[in-house]
Structure formats: C-alpha cells, structure tokens
C-alpha cells in the first residue's frame, strides 16, 4: 500500500492540476462526503494546533467554533495558543499541497503526510470559493500577521489575496477561518464526538467548542503535564522484513555490513553486529551492495537468532495509564475505571505501545453493545471500526469471563466504554485515509494482553458488585416478609407479634449466619424440581 502514497501520486503527475489531484484522491484525504468533510477540516486543524503547542512546550488550549451559514455552508474558526508561524512560512503551510516536514521520519506525531490543512484550504476554495483567513502571532512584542490565501490549482503555489499586519489580543498563536460546504450531524462520527474523544486521549489539552447549534462545550484539561517530547529513532532489527532490508542495503552509505548494521539500526553496537554476521555466516566486512538474496535471507536469520536489546522507547510517548484514566474519568461518567499501559514492543522494527482503559457502569446502557473508542497517536479514529485491529482484539477477548455478555466474534454487550490506544512512530493503517489500524499479529496480541489485564480487574469488580446486589436484594426480601411471617406466627402461637418480629429482625442484623444459601436444601429443592418435571413427563396421571 505504501508504494502508492498520495505524495507519490502527486509527484508523478506534475502536469495535472492540484484540483484534479484533489478530486481523484478526495476519499483518501477524508472528503468523501459533506459530513465527513466537516470532521476532516476540524481534525486537521486541531491535530496541527496540538502538535504545534507540544513542540513549543505549551499546554494547548484550542478554541473551535462552527457557524451554520445556511445552504450547507459552515464557517469553521480554530484558534490555538501555540508558538505561531513565522510570516514567510504561512503561505506555504496553508496554501501548498504536500508541504511539510513530518513525512518519512521515524518520530511520533499526529499529522503524518503534510497533506491535511492545505487540503482543507483547497476544499474550502473548491466548494465556496472563499479564501482561507489566517492570523498568526509569534511573540508578545510583535504585531500579528493576517493573510487571505487561495491555492493556484495549476501550479500548486500559494496565491496571496491579502497580507496585512494586525492587532491580536493573544500573546502567540494561530487562528484559521474557513468557509466550507458541509453537513452537521450529531452522533458517533460527529465533530462533537471527535473533540470529546480528543479530550480523553489528551488530558493535557483544554478544548472550548461551540457547535453549529450554538451549544458550547468546555473540555477542561485534567493534567498540567505535557507529554514527553518524542525523538527520532532508527528502525530496530527485529521484525524488519526482507523487502525493507534490501531497500536499506541499497540506499546505505556504509561500506561494510557491520557498519551498516550499527549505523542504520538502533540498539546495534559493534559486538551485536558481529554476532549477527557470525550467526548469519557472513563476513563482517562484506559490502552491503554486494549482498545477494540468499545472503539477505541469512542476515534476517542472523538477526532473529541474536539477542538484541528492546528498542529505545523514548521515541514514543504513551499517554500513561494514570493520565488516560484521568481523561476518561472527566469525559465519561461511570462508576468504575481501570487503565493499563503495556511496555513498548515492535512490529516490523517499529516500536509501539498499546494502552487501554475501561469505564464501567453509570448511565451507560447495559443492554447495548459496548462503546469502543480507538486512538492512534492520540487521534480518535471514528470511521472503519469494523476493519480495525482494535475491534478484532476486543471481539477475540472473552468478556463473558469478566461479567459481560458476548456472542461469538462480536463486541460484548454491557454498560462499558473501552478505550484502545496505539502510540507509535509510524502507526500502520489499513488505508491512506488513516481510519483503521492494520492487522499486525504483534499489535493485536499486545491489544489483547492489555484488554485481558484490564478485563480481569473489571471482572473482579463486576462480580463483587453482583454479590453485593444479591445480598441486598435478599436482605430486603427478608425485611418485607418478616412482618407477615410474624403476624401469621403470632396468630398460630398466641405469642405477641412484636416479640417475634423483633427477634427475627435482630437475627437478620447478624445476617451472615442465616442469610447463607443452604446448599443442602438447595439440592433437595433441585431434586424436588427435577422430580416434578419427571412427574409431568409421566403424563399427568395424578390429581
């Protein structure tokens, strides 16, 4: 799939206009329909805003406003408190497709292809003809810059309609205003839901959101702690596929296999490189470009049989079990929360971390399928739930043993929200639309382990709760029956009702001795029942 990225499509086809490119690829870019277009525009702007704030080590505060202009037109205004953008970069970032620095680096980030925000600008231009309006301010002393931009659809270059200095009350930050053709609906795939979920996975972010119905939501931050800054890393030898290894061998500048291994991979020193070569039966001084396919296969085997330290994990910043729980706690009212953060591991040499959190009970309906919230690098995934690895991991987990109901190969039913989050320098998606996590065995396995660990704790809680409920029900049965029994007994024995009732109540107080289920009696009751059934089978011969 990655051979066909939108970028490559675009570079191959320089002679066609970006407008045409957009039309051809709108499904990959998230503009399939009007409803999704609204979400995509908000999503791209919010992702960029949070990334920018984090890079500048500022706690993000994002203000989002969507105004219904009538006739399926919406004005979207998004403002952040980030570092702002230097003047000369503004036109390129907003009005040139595929301009960006994030593509093909081994570093965890929200946006990946540098395609997002300029595509939103182009979409606005194509549907309403209105320019993008940008405000940016980079320091307190300096004035803000205001741009009105179009994209030249023939040359893929910014077309500057307005360029002014202006006053802006904030210290630093960026504000963007776009008019687009769109459709606003509530529901699981709405902007409302997207922002709520963003708040869950990013507990350090404050989001102030006014939707088209003029309802304002404030998702206040639950943590003052910025995520640790991710760093770039080289791939880890474990899990590197033969094809990638061949490409790397061709591209490397190293002169020997030993230096190739130490230079191009993380966690490989001279000693480890020598061990790999020894086990592969290759000379350490062979030239990488001379390696033939059989040699490469041997090299892969050498890697597999050598013990290599796990990849460095400072390149990824998991949300952290406590923060993920805090995020869930503030947005999903429930009675029981649990979160699990797994240790980093790798798929195809790429490190990743799986985290999961559960919110159980509260007002969540108990007779419906559980709510599954999926995240990749803290970005909520709202579409393609069915084809996502996390869905597979949830359906393959046996929730019945944790006190929920579940039919074969489906999501469990119960009063539960399940969060599955993947954080990685390069999250694998099923398609360029980045809507579902691809089915790698290593990823699904980690997800299942995380879900099982959380599930066991949930099961303990559910069982305990059930026991208490049964106990309470029993006590209330006895409380209500006691006066009836006391008055019948008083009638039979001639002893005062009050005495009997008090004695029975005090027995109930010291409950456990009496409220226990008498196993033997149950047995008798059961055989009694069985016998009754047998009797019926006899053919109703009796009176």
């Amino acid at each position: 799939m990655s051979e066909n990225t939108a970028e490559q499509l675009a570079t191959k086809q320089r002679d066609i206009s970006v407008a045409e490119f957009f039309e051809r690829n709108r499904h990959l870019l998230g503009f399939d329909n009007k409803r999704k277009a609204l979400l995509t525009v908000v999503k791209e702007a919010v992702d960029n805003a949070i990334d920018a704030c984090e890079e500048a080590k500022k706690l993000p505060e994002i203000n989002i406003q969507i105004i219904d202009m009538g006739n399926d037109r919406y004005r979207i205004i998004i403002e952040d408190n980030g570092p702002g953008i230097v003047k000369k970069q503004i036109p390129n970032i907003f009005a040139k497709l595929l301009y960006g620095s994030k593509f093909h680096t081994m570093k965890q980030a929200r946006g990946q292809q540098g395609i997002g925000i300029s595509a939103a600008v182009l979409y606005a231009q194509l549907t309403t003809g209105r320019p993008a309006k940008i405000w940016s301010k980079i320091s307190i002393g300096k004035p803000a810059h205001y741009y009105e931009l179009h994209i030249d659809t023939q040359s893929n270059k910014p077309e500057i309609l307005k360029d002014e200095e202006t006053e802006w009350k904030e210290d630093t930050g960026v504000k963007i205003e776009l008019d687009i053709e769109a459709n606003y609906q509530k529901g699981d795939q709405s902007v409302d839901s997207y922002l709520k979920q963003t708040a869950i996975a990013n507990p350090h972010v404050t989001i102030i959101y006014t939707n088209p119905k003029a309802e304002q939501f404030i998702f206040a931050r639950a943590s003052e702690q910025l995520p640790k800054e991710p760093t770039e890393i080289k791939p880890h030898p474990y899990g590197v596929e033969i094809g990638i290894l061949i490409k790397m061998l061709k591209a490397t500048e190293a002169r020997t296999i030993q230096s190739f291994l130490t230079n191009e991979f993380s966690r490989v020193g001279a000693g480890t490189a020598k061990e790999i070569c020894d086990k592969a039966g290759l000379f350490t001084n062979m030239k990488p470009k001379d390696l033939q396919l059989p040699h490469v296969e041997k090299l892969i085997e050498g890697i597999k049989s050598t013990k290599i330290i796990a990849p460095s994990t400072d390149c990824i910043t998991p949300i952290g079990d406590q923060l993920l729980e805090a995020g869930l706690r503030k947005e999903i009212p429930a009675e029981f929360y649990i979160s699990v953060s797994r240790s980093p591991t790798v798929y195809k040499g790429i490190p990743f971390v799986i985290e999961t959190a559960l919110a159980y009970g509260g007002d969540q309906p108990g007779d419906k399928t559980v709510r599954l919230l999926r995240f990749a690098n803290r970005v909520p995934l709202l579409y393609q739930q069915g084809s996502c690895a996390s869905t597979k991991a949830v359906t393959q987990t046996n929730w019945r043993s944790y006190g929920l109901s579940q039919s074969q190969n489906s999501l469990p039913v119960g009063s539960l929200t399940i969060v599955v989050s993947l954080v990685s320098v390069w999250p694998p998606f099923t398609s360029e639309a980045k809507e579902a996590i691809a089915h790698y065995d290593e990823i699904i396995k980690e997800m299942k382990l995380a879900l099982q660990e959380a599930g066991r704790k949930l099961g303990a809680y559910v069982n305990k709760k059930r026991k208490i409920a049964v106990q309470q029900e029993r006590v209330s049965i006895f409380e209500n029956y006691i006066p009836e029994v006391a008055s019948a007994l008083s009638n039979l024995s001639g002893i005062g009702k009050q005495n009997i009732q008090e004695a029975m109540k005090s027995m109930l107080e010291k409950n456990k001795e009496y409220i226990q289920a008498h196993k033997e009696s149950h047995k008798v009751e059961k055989t009694e029942k069985q016998d009754k059934e047998d009797q019926i089978k006899l053919g109703g011969f009796d009176e």
């Binding site: 006895f478 009836e484 009997i500 004695a503 409220i515 009696s521 009797q535 053919g539 009796d542």
Partner: protein, 359 residues
C-alpha cells in the same frame, strides 16, 4: 371443634417461635411429596411417603415465600377450625392472596400455590385437608338402600329422585343409620351411573352405586373406604379399558404420589376391578367398538407395566399385554351397542355372579 387439629397447628407456630426466640433459624421440615420420596409398601400394599424431608428455612431466599405461604394457610385453617366453618380451596386462595407491603410480590399468584401449601401443611401436621376444614367442590353421585345422617338431617339414598345424593368433599361427619347392600359399585362415568340409576340397578341388585366425573375425588375415596371398613362391603370398580381407567383403579387401591401422605385414609386394598377387561371385549363382542391407540397411550401403558405394584401381578400384566397387542381401547359405553340396558341386566349381574374381576 377438633381440638387435636387446632392444637397441632398451634404447636407448629409455638415450635417456630421458640426457635426464633432462641435465635435459631426458623425451619419447617416438610416431607418431600414427589416420586423420589414415594415408595410402594409391600406389606400394606399402598404407596407410602418416605422419610425424606426438605428443610424450609425462612432465611433462605429460595424458601422464604413458600415458608410464608405455609404459615398463612395454617393461620387460615386455625381460624376455620375455631369458627367451625369449612371453606373451599378457592376461598383459601383468596383469603391469603394479597401484596406484601413495600414489594410487588403477592403471597400467592395462582391457586396451585395455595393448594400446594395446603398439601404441605397436611404432610407436616399429618392432618388431612378435611380436618383442616378445607374442602374441594362436591363431585360425585351415590344411590342405594342406605340412610345416613348429615348435620342432623336424615337422608335416604333410595329416595333421591333422578339425581342421587351429591357426595360432599368431606364425608367425615356423616353417620350411617342403615346400610342394606351386598356390595358397592363405583364407576368413573357419570353417564353410566345415570343409566344404572334409571334402571334401579341398586334396588334390583341390592347394592350401592357411586360415580365420579373422571378422577376419583378425596371425598369419594373416603366414602368408599368407610363403606368397606365399616360394613365390610366389597368394592367393585367399573372403568374404561384404557390406561386412564386402569390408573383410576390403581389410585383407589394403592394411592397416588401427591397424596401418599394420606394413603392410610384413602387407599382401598380390597378394591376389585370389574371391567372393562380384555376378556370382556372377547366375550361381549366389543371388538367393533375399539378406539385406536395413540402414541401417548402406548407410553402410558408401558409406565403402568413397570409400577412396583403391577410388576409381579400376572393378572394385570396379562391385561397390559393384551391391550398392547390390540393397540386399542374401549369405553364402558361400548356395552350400549348390545342394547341400552344390557349393562344393568346382563353384563354387571353376570360378572359379579361369576366373580370375574381383577384384584
């Protein structure tokens, strides 16, 4: 007023209160009235309740309601005894039916629940329903040259017009003044009884004829037992040639599972099965009037074959075998094919004279 019955109910209450005041769990020991606890006693030739009891502990959620139902019935019964009134099963149901305060639970929802509580009470106390002053509805007719006294009235069973005397569900309190009969003939079909009554069969043959409609009620069974025990009259049973008819006889003679705890008051070990038998079908040419067996009939006859009291009984096994071979059954009324009064003028006198019956 039956003092013994009243005391027995009072003691039931006192025992439980004593346990409660001693902080011991209130438990009723209820004899289990089901197949697993009913045995055929060879010596008395009756079905008898076994030793097994089930503990009914109020402080056990699955018992609480039944525990309450049993006490409610006991309290109702005690009141009836004190007031010297009788009432029906249906009345008892309404007397204890109410919603428990603060709950949505009714003490009883259906009459089967109160009926079962009454049977439990019988088993716990050893008192029959009649002694508890609870009656079923009257169903059954009797006529014959007998004079009885019931509640101070003198009743002559030979002067009841076309209807006969309706047998009450409680026959404990009637006294026999004059019994002029050689035997008792009990039949499951009311229509047959009407025929015999119209033909003054009881007068011509010096007997008592009794009918029920289908199952033999407790009142009829007690009446049969009293006539048998107090006047040593042979009791003949006339029933259909089918598994049902055989079972009616079985219940009269050996008792039933549900009422095993009352076997001594109910069973009639001397009861004789007069007909219809497999031989009758031969001898009286009833073959044309057979009704084909259904699957369920075959199953029932096989069950009868395996009952402890029939297992080694050659006469009955012979009947079952022949019935299975015929794969058919016959009603008493099949005899009417030989003429309306064939049964009263020919069949019955002949059978009784020859002593053709099963025991």
């Amino acid at each position: 007023m039956n003092k013994k019955a009243k005391e027995s109910l009072e003691n039931l209450g006192k025992d439980l209160v004593k346990k409660i005041l001693a902080k011991k769990p209130p438990i009723l020991d209820v004899p289990i009235r089901s197949l697993s606890n009913v045995n055929y006693d060879e010596k008395t030739q009756t079905l008898q309740l076994g030793e097994k009891t089930s503990e009914r502990n109020f402080f056990n959620v699955s018992h609480s309601k039944k525990f309450l139902q049993t006490l409610e019935v006991a309290a109702v019964s005690k009141g009836l005894i004190e007031d010297n009134k009788n009432t029906s099963l249906r009345d008892v149901f309404y007397m204890i039916k109410r919603t428990i305060p603060n709950t949505k639970t009714n003490i009883v929802d259906e009459q089967t629940e109160s009926d079962s509580a009454i049977e439990d009470l019988e088993a716990i106390t050893g008192l029959s329903r009649e002694l508890l002053h609870i009656n079923a509805k009257a169903s059954g007719m009797v006529s014959g040259k007998v004079i009885i006294e019931d509640l101070g009235d003198s009743i002559d069973w030979s002067k009841m017009g076309s209807g006969g005397w309706a047998i009450p569900s409680n026959v404990e309190n009637i006294t026999f003044k004059k019994v002029d009969a050689n035997y008792v003939l009990y039949m499951e079909k009311d229509a047959v009884w009407q025929r015999l009554h119209q033909d003054k069969f009881w007068e011509k043959n010096k007997c008592i004829i009794i009918s029920s409609q289908g199952q033999t009620t407790r009142g009829i069974r007690r009446l049969l037992q009293r006539l048998s025990q107090e006047y040593k009259l042979p009791i003949y049973v006339l029933a259909d040639f089918d598994p049902w008819g055989f079972y009616i006889y079985s219940v009269i003679k050996y008792g039933s599972i549900n009422l095993a705890h009352m076997s001594n008051e109910m069973t009639l070990t001397e009861a004789r099965f007069l007909g219809i038998t497999a031989e009758d079908i031969e001898n009286y040419d009833l073959k044309k009037h057979l009704i084909a067996f259904k699957e369920v009939d075959i199953k029932r006859i096989k069950q009868l074959q395996n009952y402890d009291w029939f297992k080694d009984h050659k006469g009955w096994q012979n009947q079952f075998k022949k019935m299975l071979a015929m794969k058919a059954k016959a009603e008493i009324q099949a005899l009417s094919s030989r003429g309306l009064s064939f049964i009263s003028e020919k069949y019955l006198p002949e059978k009784i004279k020859k002593g053709e019956y099963l025991e």
